[in-house]
Structures are given as C-alpha cells and as structure tokens.
Subunit: 331 residues, 2 copies
C-alpha cells in the first residue's frame, strides 16, 4: 500500500491484490456512488459487475447512494437491471427518497400541508410513497392543473399570477430538484411561497419551522448524461435562492441528511463502513464529514491532481484507478 502525502493529509493508493484484500477485510459495508463509479451513461465499467458479486459473496452489505432525483428508487432499479447490476429497492438511496424522508421524519411535515415541487416525477413518486401532499412538479402550473394549459406571463404583465387559486395557502414547503421543465412561472411561484408575508398563522407558526420551508434535493451544478453535461439541480434552484435571498436546506451529498437516511435504515458501525465515489467535493466530502473512511476512484470526475492541490477540500482514505481493479480478488 503506497502512502501519498497531500497538503491536507495522507492517502493510500491501492494497486495490487494484497491492497484490495486488506480493504475488503477492513470494512463490512460499502456505499457506492453510481455515475462515474459503476457506470458512465449507459456503459457499465469493466469488472464492476463481478466486483459487486464478489463483495456480496463475502457477505458485505452493498448500498447505492445517488444524488439523481429525476427518478424514483423504482425507476433507478430499472436502470440497474438494464445494466445488469444486481440491486434491491432497500439498497438504493436517492436524494429524492432522502428528501421525502427528511420532510416526514425530521420536519414531521403535517398531513394537511402541501409541498410545492420544482422537480420531476421521481421526486413526486417518493413524496407519494411517504404520504406527503404536493402540487406543482409535473402537474402543471395552470389553475386546471393541466400541463398543456400552463399559466403564461406576457411581457411584464404578472396579472395571471394574481388570479384566485394560483397560490395554495396550504403550501408549507418548496422542494427543488433537477427539472428539465423549469420555467419562470415556477420560479415566480416558488419565490412567492418563500417570501409571502400573509401565510396563515398556522403555517407561519408551523409544527417545526415557521413560514415556508425551502429544501433542495442536491446541489450538483451539472447533470451528467450520455450527451455530456447539462444544467443540474443546483442550477435549477439558483434563481430561487437569488430572488428570495434564502439559503435552502440541501439533502443530497455532500450534505448529511442523505447519510442520516442511510443510518436510519441500517444500524451500521461507521468505522466498518466505506464510502466509494468519484467526486472529491461531493462523495468524498460526504463520507468524511459523516465519519466514514472513503475510497476515491479515478474513473469519473476527480483526478489525483485535485487531492494534491493546495486548496483541496478533503483527502480520501484510499485512492484507486477504478472499482473494476478490485476484480483481482479471488472469486
């Protein structure tokens, strides 16, 4: 095991069978980021399927932790299956699922209140699954809740937004995620919910937190796809933050609410749990802040030079070329 000194600490570079054997002996639970670790786009990295099988054979607990909130866990499982990666629903943690759980468990979001969603069906499904009412999202902005008749502003005539019924007094949270159908009207509605002075007293006082909560699934500024990067969740809600001057509670990696969700479902020994990811400032920071050891794989975004920079945010415990490298382990 080669030790490498970086400005912010020391990491171990794993490269041979002995290194990987020590690694799997040292941990019981393996948390994996997906994009850039297991696959890129629709291409699974070589060796990954076999490595995951070997870990399961060794009775290791395998979990998948993704910031992708465009899909529900059910949709994500379809994706796992289509790529030939074995996974069960209870092994998959997405920022959409974590967001729904956060509303329910941490905020104890009242049953008679609604969430205004700026996001996609994956997020809506997860809210449904925990029994939280929501409006907005894919349902459309119009009074008829018909996406085809969405409310439209002409020039700077904002009067359509003033029609009775456009704003719902029972909204007590705005939840944002990636939304490829984001538009000005959604931003304007979120803005008003988050800045309104005339919330009913009940909403204002709230069971937990007054007024209207501002939550975001994740802060990734870009969204990776086969056709390259496109604006991500953090870019979708940037305008809502800018207009309201409010900073949202962000659920996904590198923030801890996401990890709290994992630990609410599994009573892991943190010292026997390893976070595996390809991004220093999301995956590795996420694990490190949560008291986990971390493994950076160089098959995705972050390269080794990033750790060696003076301004590196965090140092992983281990670094290796790719997850597939572990395939040298005995079957």
């Amino acid at each position: 095991m080669k030790e490498v000194k970086a400005p912010k600490g020391t990491y171990r570079f794993l490269e041979d069978k002995g290194d990987f054997q020590q690694l799997v002996d040292r941990y019981d639970n393996f948390l994996f980021d997906c994009d850039g670790v297991l696959w890129f786009g629709t291409d699974v990295f070589p060796g990954v399927i076999s490595v995951l099988q070997k870990l399961r054979k060794l009775n290791k607990q395998v979990l998948f932790v993704t910031n992708n909130a465009s899909k529900s866990r059910r949709d994500l499982l379809d994706r796992f299956e289509s790529m030939g990666v074995q996974a069960a629903e209870r092994e998959v943690f997405s920022s959409a699922y974590a967001s729904a759980l956060y509303l329910k468990e941490v905020l104890q979001f009242p049953k008679d209140r609604k969430v205004f969603v700026v996001g996609m069906s994956g997020l809506e499904h997860e809210l449904d699954a925990v029994g939280i009412q929501h409006i907005g999202g894919t349902v459309g902005d119009s009074l008829t809740q018909d996406p085809e008749q969405n409310l439209k502003i002409t020039g700077t005539d904002f009067s359509p937004l003033l029609e009775p019924g456009v704003f719902d007094d029972s909204v007590a949270a705005v939840m944002c995620g990636i939304d490829t159908d984001m538009n000005y009207v959604k931003m304007a509605k979120a803005f008003r919910y988050l800045t309104r002075q005339n919330a009913t007293e009940e909403v204002k006082s709230g069971e937990k937190g007054g007024g209207c909560h501002f939550l975001c699934t994740n802060q990734d500024s870009t969204f990776p796809s086969k056709s390259g990067s496109w604006p991500g969740a953090g870019s979708v809600w940037a305008g809502i933050q800018e207009s309201t001057g409010r900073k949202p509670t962000v659920i996904g990696k590198p923030n801890q609410p996401m990890l709290d969700t994992v630990f609410a479902g599994y009573s892991f020994d943190r010292s026997r749990t390893l976070m595996v990811g390809d991004r220093l400032n999301t995956d590795i920071a996420f694990g490190a802040h949560g008291g986990l050891d971390t493994l950076l794989v160089l098959s995705g975004i972050s390269q080794e030079a990033e750790i060696l920079q003076e301004g590196a945010a965090v140092v992983p415990t281990y670094v290796t070329k790719s997850l597939g490298e572990l395939d040298v382990l005995d079957p």
Copy 2:
C-alpha cells in the same frame, strides 16, 4: 443643511428650500433612476412632474437611467408619456440599450456573429437598432424558430438538444436579461454556448475575447411591479452562472458600463453631475463608483437606517425624503 454621521462617512440631509436651492445651483446634470424615484408602478409621485419641469427651465440636463431591460427605449418613452413625464429618446438610458452599445463599441462584435438572447423584446429591439444579429429571445427555441413549437425535453432525454441545427456555430455571445419566459431549454442552450469546446477557431480567437462572451443587462435579483416583487434579471441568469461556473460581465447599475454609455453620448463634467436614486447598493453605488455626487431619495427601497448600518456599502452625498420635496423651489 443637516450633516449626519454614518459609519462609512457623512451625508447631508436636505429638507428646506435653501437646501434644495444650493443643490440645483451646484449641479448642471441630473441622472435619475425611475422606479422608486419618479414613480411606483403606474403612480407618479406627487410633485415629480413639476420638479422635472423646473429643472428643465433652469437649463439643467435631465437624463433617465434604468436597469429595466424588458422594454426598448421606445417602449420606455411610451411609459413616460402615459405617466405625463416629459422625456426624449436621447435622454433615456436603459441597461438593454447600454448592453447593445457595449457589444458594438467595446467588444466590436463582428457583423457575421450572433448573440444568443435570454431576454425579452426590449433587448432584441436594441440589438436590432445597432445592427447586431441575434437568435433565441422571443423567437423561440425550436428549429423552426416558432415559439409555439418550442423544443421540449422529456424526462432526462436530452436528445432533442442534439438535433442538427439546434446550436448555431456563429453564436459568439450569450446576453441575459429579465425573461418572464425563461425555461430549462434556454438555460441548457446558454450553458452549451458558454462551455463548448468545439467553437470554430474564428469564434475562439475572436476579435476581442475568445470563445463565447457572457453578458448580462443587470443583476437586480427582483423586478418591481404593481403586484409586488417577482424574480428579476439576476435570478434569471443565476442558473446559467451556476452551471457554467462563469461570471458574466454585468452592464447595468451599479456597474460602470452603463455609466460609460451615458458619458459616450454626453461630455459631462463629472463634478457637475448628480445621480439620484432610491437604492443604496445599485443607484448610489453606481454614481459613487463613477465619481459622481449622489442623492438618495427615501421614496423607494432604501431607508435612512440602511446608511447608518455598520455594514453599509456606500454613503450618499445627500439624502432627502422624496424628489417631490424639491417642488418648494421657485417656478
């Protein structure tokens, strides 16, 4: 003239006829912000029309400097007229006009290149007026340039954006302003123009600045209207900044390109020019950074307490209750 000490300096509070007489004797040129100074929504403040007439009678040069880029100068003049405020086209400076001039004069934007607009007709008209080609804006995102057939992304299938013709190789600048029809596709297109690696060599090298310029009319986070505030230009482009990691050149107040436009049209003596506005961090900062004396009117956003705060950004030269106060001057 009452002198008031603030943490960052001293200002004079103007309240009687003698104070105002000294003020008009001291300056030849008066630059006015509009919203919150002349009017609010469609209501002209009492005394304002008379004060402007008196200044003109005294042969003072009167100019209007607004960050509102939703309208062209022609449209703005219609608004002035409808409110009974006398103004000529050459007296009106908007951030849309300043942006078009900046492209033409400062960047010497090539005639065979195009600007991708995230903005409204006012901005498009000003680009037309200086002979700069543009796409996007109100023209629609579709290949047919028909806003009714706008390109649409379903889920996270970005393939419609990959159709040939969606991106125009001759785009060499992205210009953003307030856009009440902002949407994800516009953000995604701006993102790609601003991050593309495959710009033609000619665009990359450019006459001035390589790749693709990123310009914004103004950075106001909210847009004032009769029905209260709504997200402003700064909120519309926040997501583009977040996704690209690029900081735009911002033209409007408090930035100096806007003032450069005024001084390109008029050879004023800066020491005889007064900027009048209602916002400390835009209007007053704008004037102060440009070496002008400033008058804060308390009829709009900023109240006196803001100047007296420890963290105040700037101190105006003068403060008065409202522009209408000057109506005590002799006719």
